[in-house]
Symmetry: C2
Subunit: 363 residues, 2 copies
Amino acid sequence: MRIAQVAPLYEAVPPGAYGGTERIIAALCDGLVEMGHDVTLFAPRTSETIATLEAYEDPLRERFDADELVNLAPHLHLQMMADLYARRDEFDVVHSHLDIWTFPFARLFDTPTVLTMHGRLDLDFLHDLLPRYGSVPLVSISNDQRRAVADLDLTWAATVYNGLDFSTYGDVSHDPDGYLGFVGRIAEEKGPLAAIEIARRCDLPLRVAAKVDPLDEPYYEEEVAPLMGPDVDFVGEIDEQQKPPFYAGARATLFPSDWPEPFGLVMIESMAAGTPVIALRRGSVPEVIEDGVSGFICDDVDEMVEAVRRVGDIDPDACRQRAERFSAQAMCRGYVQVYEQLTRARAADAHIPAQRQERVPTT
Amino acid sequence: MRIAQVAPLYEAVPPGAYGGTERIIAALCDGLVEMGHDVTLFAPRTSETIATLEAYEDPLRERFDADELVNLAPHLHLQMMADLYARRDEFDVVHSHLDIWTFPFARLFDTPTVLTMHGRLDLDFLHDLLPRYGSVPLVSISNDQRRAVADLDLTWAATVYNGLDFSTYGDVSHDPDGYLGFVGRIAEEKGPLAAIEIARRCDLPLRVAAKVDPLDEPYYEEEVAPLMGPDVDFVGEIDEQQKPPFYAGARATLFPSDWPEPFGLVMIESMAAGTPVIALRRGSVPEVIEDGVSGFICDDVDEMVEAVRRVGDIDPDACRQRAERFSAQAMCRGYVQVYEQLTRARAADAHIPAQRQERVPTT
């Protein structure tokens, strides 16, 4: 199949460091090429892929100021989309990761276009916008993600769980006597304070491998840093090479995320290292973690403290095996099913002149 | 000709009060219909027009907060454009007033699309964006407006000066012994402080008919209000009915605008009342004012003071006659020429398959 993939222009694919969406797009493109598909990736020029790269722009995040991010960035994304759709006959399917900027193009052309919603959907303006494009096929990255818009008449093509290439995780082995780990971003909704409390109540050392965004610096300085002590090791942001040993060295990864997490890559990375995840029951958690097999799903901090004490009950090999459900290959198979479904639907409509297929919406 | 006109969704067409672009679109649509054209106006639902109204949204400015203006408003404009281009076969030409949101659609479809640039062009992000769409036909509202982007390779179809319906100005007659007038918006670049200084040096009363935007309130409170005195009458914003007597009652209208004004409707309204305009030589001023006939073009405040003393040299009837060059009819004729030029160009290309005509840009 001839597949166009469209990435945001903010970060390279894969990203230098933090950037979940870009890591997923990278794994998806490489996986689809390995399956024999003809993949063209529209992405920043510093991207690295075995797909054909249509190189746009140096990544915007590192060079745009706030004014440019608001006034110029949207138009660079729209320009990329206009370029892509001018070449629409070269593709059997367009898979966009540009969120709502995709909609006008998906409405205007009968080239099958599917849009993965990578972010949270519980935002007021989305509630207004999404039903205006109710017929555009969407992919959710967990079933729970759809809950915030369950009252809207939308076209969900599938849930396709995020997947990663876990080959580098084969080299490490889980240390059942290690520290407690916290990976991600320092932000209130990620629950770093709960992680510190849990570690102290369990009398175990905590290692925090986390990024502090400029936006989150006040929170870090005022709320998190004062609680640090010799029992909390803040190691900063870690890269893809550092992750397998970091996860494997932990007896458990704490995931006290207190918001409707749409997916949560930290969970599957930890599982791939054989390290159980102790998580709050929020968002996608019950779909990603199998309670008692790859970790424990808890309703509050007390239960998380209790779960740390039971972490030896988890078999690291069974935990690791569960990560296979979230491999890059599994994700690619899921998306290929979506693409096939859309191209079959188009073929079935092929006797209708293209003009007729355009949806002229009522206002 | 079947003409689609697309207005911004922020204000009704015509607007309740301040809103130059919306007043121009209103005059253009009504004028084109009167010329016998088939005009469809895509605009907020509270608009009033003799064209066919495709009614979208209640005007956004009065109901959207800052978050919605950034996150939702662009998408409502894109949705309207997607709806319009899904019906592109119904129109011979699309005339957009949506600024740069028009570009991706203009690139993707061979329905002739022309875009009037209503705002200032001396902004950094425009300098980056405009050349990416160098083949899209643009209309400037003065020749001077193009100066900021003179180094870029753009397609200027024409300069079409703004025009208004001056029928209500026929009922008033110019008072050569009246006050000095200032009309517009209280903002530093509009020069209200210069207007006060000029009136005082001439020992004449000043009447200020101006809007204070929320954004400009600190400037008004700190810089302008302290200089007010019994010789300065601040009458606030005036509507279309109040304008003819306000202009006619002034011996001259002061236009000390100190930025590259792209057009300046105040000047032509004053001319229509037979009231000369005393203006700084900036932006469009030398194209709109004929020095010594419809006002005086000055290089500084000293020259403006001197010009007030010579205002009796101007013949109000000659001044009024100059406004005819900026009538709604003149503007409509200018745009029809542009539309004809674009549709002729399309007809000449008609033997080339539509697919071939799409421009696939290099990146």
